[in-house]
């Protein structure tokens, strides 16, 4: 369930982001360190806390890298789950400085 081929600097999230996907997502983000990234969460049907953790850690990492990290599109499921588990939009964004 790896993300589909995407333009450099953009990451399209899989539809199911459960425990099994957390490591893959982590690997993808690690590989993208150092460049600006936009996240496409429009296909997300399901996301678990662990992938949420990876995304928040990603945003923090990008913040410390002073690169931008942006969730560009988000499905309803993605938004609602984030809201449900108390992850604010601000936790998922890093700005290039």
């Amino acid at each position: 369930m790896a993300p589909k081929k995407a333009a450099p600097g953009s990451l399209k999230l899989s539809s199911v982001l459960d425990l099994n996907e957390a490591s893959a997502l982590h690997g993808k983000l690690m590989a993208m360190r150092g460049s600006n990234v936009t996240i496409d969460a429009s296909q997300v049907e399901r996301i678990g806390v662990q992938c949420g953790q990876v995304l928040v850690a990603g945003a923090k990492a990008w913040q410390s890298d002073k690169k931008s990290f942006l969730v560009e599109k988000a499905s309803d499921a993605f938004e609602k789950t984030m809201q449900l588990i108390g992850i604010d939009g601000a936790n998922l964004v890093a700005k290039e400085i």
């Binding site: 459960d18 957390a22 049907e45 806390v49 662990q50 953790q53 990492a61 609602k80 789950t81 998922l92």
Partner: protein, 740 residues
């Protein structure tokens, strides 16, 4: 259903919860650290408290509350369930049981006992909780505060308790209370297939929820383990549901998270956390293939937009995200459902049914007999129909008997309390090990073995097991062990009580027997015979209690009770190593499969379970042995031949074996004998009628029955006959029984 009936149901449930509690505590005592065991223990006390609260049983609620608080410390790993801790817990379980009994039957429990234990429980909740790992959690303080509350009713929160089918007005639910929930999942929660997001979703459905996610523990991206758990939550929820309802959301994940649920103080939220309201409409999370693409107008900002008003939070399908978790939950639920498919029936009704079926069996046998007598060919339609009736009767009987069959577990559990109490009293340390608790036997038997068993257990603790000092001096573990075993053997239940104490002091038993004129001073008795002297009535004397290192207290009473049940008891003892009491009891007191035989013109029934085979002896197979003994040669081995008619004094001289039939039987002791009878009439199920209850105990006879022709037939006690044929145990056993 009126309140009294509901209360009765509550007390019945209490019995079950108490059994659950005790069995859980005993498991913990044996080193079981399965979280589910602790959970079950906690739930048991919690349920009792809940019900007691609803009925205003304040003493019970007070005690259960303190108990529960301490158990909660164990549950949340703040208190290690060490042997010492469990000792207090087990005592508390006993007091709780007494409080339940007192609430049901009136009366009270000695206040000093309750008070002492409350103090001990509070001390455990306060002092011995390891502070380290969970120092930041407010629980120990909370536990302390709670435990320190006075034990009067003002100290306790009302526990909502509702009965299905009852109007809401009976038990007002908590309206719109706000609960503060702290939820910190551990890695295992996820690895076991649970998902915190789904738990939070389910929680959000209970009411109006706000949430704060604590992300402080989240490490840097490159240092994190993507499968570990870093987030934790503080949730505030305003709901009409109870704390139990809230906890039940986490029921299957409880052991893999730190969870705290508490009622929020009137207005004040204890934390000044930015709480994000959670939308009620979480339908997007419920069904998988929704996933319509919805580009957010502003990146992510939408995520934190306030919740819209709350439509459609009705029944929703479980999200596939929960698949694994749900599977586990479903299994558990299915198990619970299966366990729940029972009805409570008044025992009297079952008994009435059993009696009626017993009469039906006799009636059917009579009918069969008279039809057979009038239909020599056996081909008439009536005869055929009768066979079917016989089959059906048999099935009905089996089914009815199965209703009464119950595991011996409750009785065994009761024994652990006796061991604890008596051991405490006499300052010994004793462990009770039970085996085969699930062995099933008729309820009547269960009810009736409790008393003799209690007596024997008391004896074993008081006299069988030596003091710790003596044990140490003898190179034994200072902690004694009593082992209680139940198993089925040849259609009977065998209960063994084994201790690793000093065994019977045969010298003293012998001397006592001589002093009491039970045996003559020059009697030549085997060890076994000496051991069995303790069952003689003369041994129930006061000085025997303290003097005899082994046994001796009222064992004649025990023996009589066992015999009245159609059972037998024997003892084997090894000096310095301990004693074993073996009780053999019938599985049911109602029916018996038997072989109907003729002996000296009398009709007897021999229990089928005892018979190995039947044979027609040939003259060449019969050998004389000594003056009166005869042996029969069966497949190159010799087996003593026993003339039943002679043993039972039906005739003065032995019958000619060649003219009769030999029934090869196996006794409890494992020995084989060939029982000689004159003829076999047939094989049938007979309804047991107690001889003790209707007449008196007859040596060699277990019970009686009514045959199809209305005559009474005696049921042979095979073991007694075998023992009598040996010529040794017969005298003590049978003569004592006769005098008893």
């Amino acid at each position: 259903m009126d309140m009294n009936e509901i209360k009765e149901i509550f007390f019945q449930e209490c019995e079950e919860q108490l059994a659950e509690l005790e069995s859980g505590l005993l498991k913990l005592n044996d080193g079981d650290r399965d979280p589910e065991t602790v959970n079950a223990v906690f739930r048991a006390v919690h349920s009792i408290k809940g019900g007691a609260g609803a009925f205003g049983l304040d003493d019970l609620v007070s005690f259960a509350h303190v108990f529960e608080t301490t158990l909660d410390c164990v549950r949340s790993n703040k208190l290690e369930p060490s042997q010492d801790v469990l000792k207090v817990m087990l005592k508390s379980a006993d007091v709780l049981a007494d409080l339940v009994s007192a609430s049901r039957d009136g009366g009270s429990v000695e206040e000093s006992r309750t008070r002492t234990l409350v103090k001990e429980l509070e001390a455990l909740a306060n002092g011995e909780a390891p502070p380290a790992a969970h120092a930041e959690a407010p629980k120990p303080a909370a536990a302390k505060a709670e435990a320190a509350k006075p034990t009067d009713d003002s100290g306790f929160e009302p526990v909502p308790f509702t009965f299905e089918g009852f109007g809401d007005d009976e038990e007002p639910a908590v309206q719109g209370s706000t609960y503060e929930i702290s939820f910190k999942p551990r890695r295992e929660l996820y690895s076991k297939g649970n998902e915190a997001a789904l738990l939070l979703r389910d929680l959000s459905r209970l009411g109006e929820m706000s949430i704060n996610c604590d992300m402080d523990a989240l490490p840097d991206l490159d240092k994190m383990d993507p499968e570990d758990s870093y987030f934790s939550w503080k949730v505030s929820i305003k709901t009409s549901k109870s704390e139990d309802d809230i906890r039940s959301v986490f029921e299957f994940a409880e052991w893999d998270c730190d969870l705290e649920v508490k009622l929020a103080a009137a207005d004040a939220r204890d934390e000044e956390l930015p709480m994000v309201p959670v939308p009620f409409d979480l339908s997007a999370l419920d069904e998988t293939p929704i996933a319509e693409e919805k580009p957010a107008s502003a990146p992510v900002a939408a995520v934190s937009k306030p919740a819209s008003a709350a439509p459609a939070r009705a029944e929703k399908k479980e999200s596939p995200a929960a698949a694994a978790a749900a599977a586990a939950q479903n299994n558990a639920a299915a198990a619970a459902a299966a366990a729940g498919q029972t009805i409570r029936v008044d025992l009297d009704r079952v008994d009435r049914l059993i009696n009626l079926v017993g009469e039906l069996v006799i009636n059917q046998a009579m009918l069969s007999q008279s039809v057979v007598e009038n239909d020599a060919t056996g081909t008439s339609a009536v005869n055929m129909g009768l066979e079917e009736l016989q089959q059906l009767t048999r099935e009905i009987q089996d089914s009815v008997m199965a209703i009464r069959a119950q595991p011996v577990k409750p009785v065994f559990q009761r024994m652990s309390r006796i061991v604890r109490e008596v051991a405490d009293m006499v300052g010994k340390s004793i462990r009770l090990v039970t085996e085969g608790e699930n062995t099933e036997v008729d309820k009547t038997v269960i009810d009736k073995i409790a008393e003799p068993l209690t007596h024997m257990i008391r004896n074993a603790v008081d006299h069988g097991i030596e003091s710790p000092e003596k044990r140490e001096a003898a190179g034994k573990d200072p902690e004694g062990t009593i082992k209680l075993t139940a198993k089925h053997r040849s259609g009977r239940i065998l209960i063994e009580l084994q201790d690793d104490g000093g065994g019977i002091n045969r010298e003293r038993v012998r001397q006592k027997a001589i002093d009491n004129d039970l045996i003559s001073p020059d009697a030549n008795l085997s060890d076994e015979e000496i051991d069995n002297l303790i069952f003689a009535p003369g041994f129930s004397t006061a000085d025997a209690i303290s003097d005899i290192s082994g046994r001796g207290v009222g064992m004649d009473v025990v023996k009589r009770s066992i015999q009245a049940l159609g059972g037998r008891i024997s003892i084997s003892s090894r000096p310095g190593l301990g004693s074993t009491f073996t009780m053999s009891l019938p599985l049911t007191l109602a029916v018996l499969d038997g072989m109907v035989v003729t002996v000296a013109g009398q009709t007897l029934v021999v229990p089928l379970t005892a018979i190995v085979e039947t044979l027609q002896p040939e003259a060449s197979a019969i050998h004389s042995f000594g003056a009166t003994q005869r042996l029969i040669s069966i497949r190159n081995s010799f087996c003593p031949l026993v003339d039943v008619g002679r043993i039972l004094n039906f005739r003065a001289t032995q019958a000619n074996p060649v003219e009769g039939v030999a029934l090869l039987v196996e006794s409890e002791g494992g020995g084989q004998r060939a029982l000689m009878v004159d003829a076999i009439q047939g094989q049938r199920q007979v309804v047991i009628k107690s001889l003790e209850a209707n007449y008196t105990h007859v040596p060699g006879i277990a019970a009686a029955t009514i045959l199809g022709d209305g005559r009474v037939a005696l049921i042979l006690d095979v073991d007694a006959v075998v023992a009598a044929s040996r010529g040794q145990s017969m005298k003590p056993e049978m003569s004592l029984a006769a005098t008893g």
